[in-house]
Amino acid sequence: MFACLLLGSAAFFEVSTPAGIGFVQRNSPTRRKYLIETMTGGVALLDYNNDGLLDVFLVNGGALTDPMPQPANFHRGEPKYWNRLYRQNRDHTFTDVTEAAGLAHAGDGNYGMGVAAADYDNDGYTDLYVTNYGRNVLYHNNGNGTFTDVTERAGVAGGGWSASAGFFDYDKDGKLDLFVTRYLDWDFARSKVCARETYCLPGEFPAATNLLYRNRGDGTFEDVSTRAGLSKLKGHGLGVAFADYDDDSWPDVFVANDGMEQFLLHNNGDGTFSERGLEAGVALSDNGKPFAGMGVDFRDYDNDGRPDIVVTNLARQIYAVYHNDANGSFSYRSLQTGLGVLSAASSGWGMRLVDFNNDGWKDLFIAQSHVMDNVEAIDPSLHYLEPPMFALNQAGRFERADPGTTQPMAGRGAAFGDIDNDGWPDVIVSVLGGRPLLFRNRGGNAHWLTISLRGTRSNRDGFGARVRVNDQWQEVTSAGSYLSASDKRVHFGLGAAQTANVEIRWPSGTHQSLPNVRADQFLSVTEPEQR
């Protein structure tokens, strides 16, 4: 059933609950205000069966009761609490293939959080990693429409409360490694309700460490968190994104932390990372205030060739924009870019910089909602439910645009990709307590180019490759946003240009040039076997 919520002639997106997707995000809120119940909502866009169409994977929460029995049982065996995989059909409807794909039961001890998607074993099929409060699960894509839980063998179960995760090749050995953020050291026994009957701030609970797993290339991973220098860094990690911010060819990591300094983990190139948030100027707001970092993107918003950082947070904190100044240093630009005014009273989660109108400038789409479902009782001028924010990038300054709906919702995860392969990027947003919403881009007249990379010496997905198209740059990744994974194809708007000069710097160091590429096509590029 294609149910339009609101369509205006000026609307940029057509908003609907996607046909064939019956998933309801069952976060199961309670009077106990268990923090996990307001934090879930992972969603992924991936082409799991290589038919050229993006499919949808949605992470479910689980059953919560008041009080919770110990040990916790989230009843994930019940179909209403399953994660769900939906295969896209040729007519752009979806079919639930969860059970057939072997993804039905997510484990009774696991309350679902997020998802990462990548081809970690370079076999040509996109795999899934699901984070949980509990034990994380790695699903290997068997290439025949099914997945196998390989967590134990792979050694990536983690534990505690994991949030966003992402694949990247930190040691540039051609095999994708895995970074997992962890939010809090929390359990039901220590849970509490805070002032005015609401969720506690993260500072009420001990911080947690993030995890880094190095891919050995034999189907197993090694936990290198300690060796990499991450075990000494405790935070409240929610979002993660990757980019080489200092152009030293090694991919760096940004972790969005809730209610404290943000982490910029500089890749030292020797298997270790150094936390440089404060010295790079991305740890705090411009006047030294910590904020509730949740979603993040690490991408060049002003087309100067250097990845910038955008972090979503809570109302009255304003979303943070850090401009990369080229010397390993960033400048806080939330006010100058206009995002301060746009986000002053809003709370944001999943997000990405994407050129939705193909004018050559990456716009912003942000899933929004306050963290507290009773925030109005505490402060009537704030709202729990909010429509998403859509802002068009006018040469580096963001201006509010119509997201296609004014309906408020509890938006959490957001995944980005060209679902209908029309050259105009779309969005899917997970909604707490409800069905996901598809924001289908209506398109326009401008030109575009979408590139699929196939690494040979580099990782097969080409993650970490720097792609230049005319005067724009992007690094290839499916990570970023909040708890979510996006289309791994890299999309460029070309404006009026009907051709593009494409340059690719692969993680292996190989440079590849493709001059005069025709616009308005999906271009597949394979990494040359030799430099």
Binding site: L278, D286, G288, R316, S329, L335, G338, A344, A345
Partner: protein
Amino acid sequence: MVTAFIALGLAWQALSPEAIQHAQAGIAAQKQGDLKTAIVEFHKVTELAPSLPAAFMNLGAVYVQAHQYEQAVAPLEKALELKPDLIGAEQLLGYALLAVGNASAAIPHLSKAGDKGALGIAQVKTGQLVDAIANLNAALAQHPGDPNLLYYLGRASGLLSKEAMDTLEANYPDAARAHASLGENYAALRQVAEAEKEYREALRIDPEARGVHLALGEMYAKIPDWPRAEQEFRAETKLQPEDAESAYWLGTTLLEEGKLKEARTQLEHADRLRPNMPQTLDALGRAASLDGDSTAAEQFFKKLLSIESTGPLAVNAHFGLASIYRKEGKSTEAARELEAYKAARKP
């Protein structure tokens, strides 16, 4: 607060050996925290020495210490009847009466005892707000930061303000100021729509009412809704072009909107009207820094720190300086300011 367990020694020569024995037992029990026994022993002393004021005062004091305020009143009154200049007994009786809810009766005793803090609290409870504020301020001068005194001072000020507003609203319900006052009440409760209605009515009645646009703007700034706040602050600065507060608010709003040049102009105007306000210097430093004018930003932050070396604005200034030095590549200075920032942030 109970410090007057004394005086027995002064009158011991007048006591019988039996009374002395009970007095010593009472003191010992009191020292051990056994207040029940102390009360029994001091009670016996009052029976054996019924004309000794100190005996009654000590019994009253132990009752106060045991939070048995009602029982404390009679022996303390007896002590004062026997010896009217017993200041300690006046103070204890004042505490006891205040504790049992008889603030009016407590006032003369606390006044005689010269305890301005407790007197101020009693006056808040009896509605003598102007006197209460004076006494609480005097007590705070001797005990800066005392949370009880601060609480009652805040309460007295609020009640006094409400009293004045109630009178205004009752006597002049159609006056612009009455609607503005109602607007402020709604704004304090973050009931934006109701507050807007009252403020707009105030402006309809008197379009040139000073401070109404400012109050509306401040409410929008708290939401925050910067574009609407800007409109109101602009209207206020038109009405009061020489008002530093309006200029400051307009400047900070423009800063939040990223209109850095115009923000700096307004903030500099505010600084000229009321020089060296730390809040203005903080905003000026921030605006100049974001505008890329690190020289000016450094000057503003340094000036702020020369006026206010601790507190939240000092924290901002140290962080602002660290950012400036970091961007200029002055790593030693940046590290120094970052350390100062971290130290200043500690509670």
